[in-house]
Amino acid sequence: MTKSILNPRGFLSALAVGFAFSTSPLMAADLTVALAAEPTSMDPHYQNLTINNSMATQVYDALVLQDVNQKLIPGLAVSWTPVDDRTWEFKLRPGVKFHNGAAFAAEDVVATMKRAANVPNSPSSFGTFIKGKTFEVVDDLTLRVSTKKPYPFTPNDMSRIAIIDSAFVDATTEDFNTGKASFGTGPFTFSKWLPGDVLKLTRNEAYWGKAMEWDSVTVRPIGDGTTRSAALIAGDVDFIERVAPSDLPNLEKRSGVTIFKSVSNRLLYLTLHMTDEPIKPYVTGHDGKPIVSPFRDIRVRQAVSLAIHRQAIADRVMDGLSAPAGQFSPKGYIGYSANLTPDGYDPKRAKELLAEAGYKDGFKLTIHGPAGRYSNDTRILEAIAQMLSRIGIETSVETMPASVFFKRFSRGGPNKTPEFTVAMSGYANGSGEPSHPLRIFIHTKQKARGYGPGNRNGYSNAKVDKLIEDGRASMDIAVGEKAFIQATDIAMREYALVPIHHEIATWAARDGITYEHGALDSTFIHNVRAKK
């Protein structure tokens, strides 16, 4: 039974509650968050997966942390400097304690690396960030990490590994899921995790950084976008991620709800097959006979880019939740080049370019893409098919489930070569390492050296390759950044890829909460703060 408001005491307490809410809406410092997905494990070294990493960040720290734009900031290391061509020295933060009271020291880092590289049954291991590095303890608060060749991204790699107490180096994944071993140095301590239901965190009173406002945090997985919005409106949760586009206008109008949007680093792009060999069945003359890929010619590639009405896609297909793109990085994000702007819509010039390249009457093309992998992917493909048809490239679309698409995209052709002529795919730089997209997609394919594994269209420019390799070999990060931007400029102007847009990520919160957000579309609970 609820107390009747006519009952004097009930009335008074109702008044008191009302009063408390009107003065300070955040009296109760418990935060409830609804996320679209849940971690596969609370073991921070089990699987290199966005949601796992974002949860791990709450309980554990890495030597180096990343801000909302993946810029490196001090974490358990206060500074890092190269001491020679192959060695980085990390100065560790003094006075830090794990949640179980143990003091943090260089030994813990070494123990962590041993465990993180060797977690049994890991679906995607953190070993890639650790293998090939030697860790040397100089003293309790000084650590040296060396590599065989000059490698400027050791600090980036170190930002991926959550540091645990050396006492738990042999702990199992299960121990981290139940809380038996879950002692980090992060802003929250682990309380309990019931997969599929709830994750509970409590404030770490001894946190070395800025203390959190929340006494406790409850994280609930709610997969369906509309259900998340409904939970926020009903007051069941205080903060949600990934607002369903259809709910957005409704939530924006509603009082008591704040929406946060930011241009994410998730890029949607087209890749155009640009070598003579092999001749693929997806581009033909009007007679239906396969022809050598017209996209060898930069003018045809440019025509494709100019034919795409990026703003129309943003407005009509994405409901405003995308920003036209001209390169891998959105503005403000690592690797962004101020020299590049997204191509405007110019079908007339596109037709002229086609004619100049000898395709006055156009040709027939099938474009491929995944269905349901990216926001509105099939609709975007359909819009692009319309736009290309308009400049004379008679385009049809074939979509397929993402698992099928990516297999064929990478090795569906003869001799396990990439199958498609034109395909749409997406990319987001998860590691925050600035040369990553260039090394994966732009550099000439050289499998043995780890270059160009994602280069599926045969783009190759010796000058770009050299810039990427030189940048990656210089221990001076500023030199590297300059080289990467130069490489980006050349590659994008040659349409190594045709960028379409960056998705816009959304979050919503009840009033009184603010969220610090950047180019990452994943959610970091420590950035959910009480409004002052």
Binding site: S246, P249, I313, A385, Q386, S389, R390, E394
Partner: protein, 285 residues
Amino acid sequence: MIALSAIRTRPTSYVSGLLIAIIAIAAVFAPLIAPTDPYALATVSILDGRLAPGGEMLDGTIAWLGTDGAGRDVLSAILYGLRTSLTVAISSAAIALTIGLIVGLTAAFYGGRLDTILMRVVDIQLSFPAILVALVLLALLGKGIDKVIIALAIVQWALYARTVRAAAMVERRKEYFEAVTCLELSNTRIIWRHLLPNSVSSLIVLATLQTAHSISIEATLSFLGVGVPITEPSLGSLIANGFDYILSGAYWITFFPGAMLLATVAAINIFGDQLREIINPRLAK
């Protein structure tokens, strides 16, 4: 001829028959009737997307039933989509009917071990839900109208085979059949000239009802995204296209194709029921 006069005396069959005729004409002459060509990507523009019914498109055409998310005129898309849906349904029914007829008659005529084997195959086929089999087949075959037709034919033949066999078994025990057997006519002649014409009446009804059923299956498959190509939507894919926009108020993308699908399936079903009563007067009350 008795059947034709019976149709005239039954108003329900008359109305449903007329409706089917109108739908069929609309589908056949879609390119002439439709205000725009919804499959011509060079003229469809997303800038026309999600116009409300009665809205004016960029080229001045009025979209009487609105436009969908890709900027297709919904009215034109329905007419063209109807073509796809009917083509798929009728061709798959025809193929399935032919296979079913051959298997069913063979099983009934020769009997014995062949009958047992064929009917077990039919049993196994019928024990799988149609939509599941179709989904698996399309996952293997890929997209395209021809593939949907093949998948639906494979899903449906067993039903025809079972029905034909039952009817043919009954005929086999009749006296005229003993007579033709005694005349030592060739097997082929007995099957095609005597068994087939006498067993086919129940099949006509089944074929009608199955056509309606395969329109629904095709719509379901397209709704699930494994049917026809997205740039050439059938009724099912039009409904699926609009489904995401229902909550934001753009009801017309789903509603009108849905109404058309309902009308088509209902008309064929009612007509099939009436046909059954006419052909088999014992069922009439």
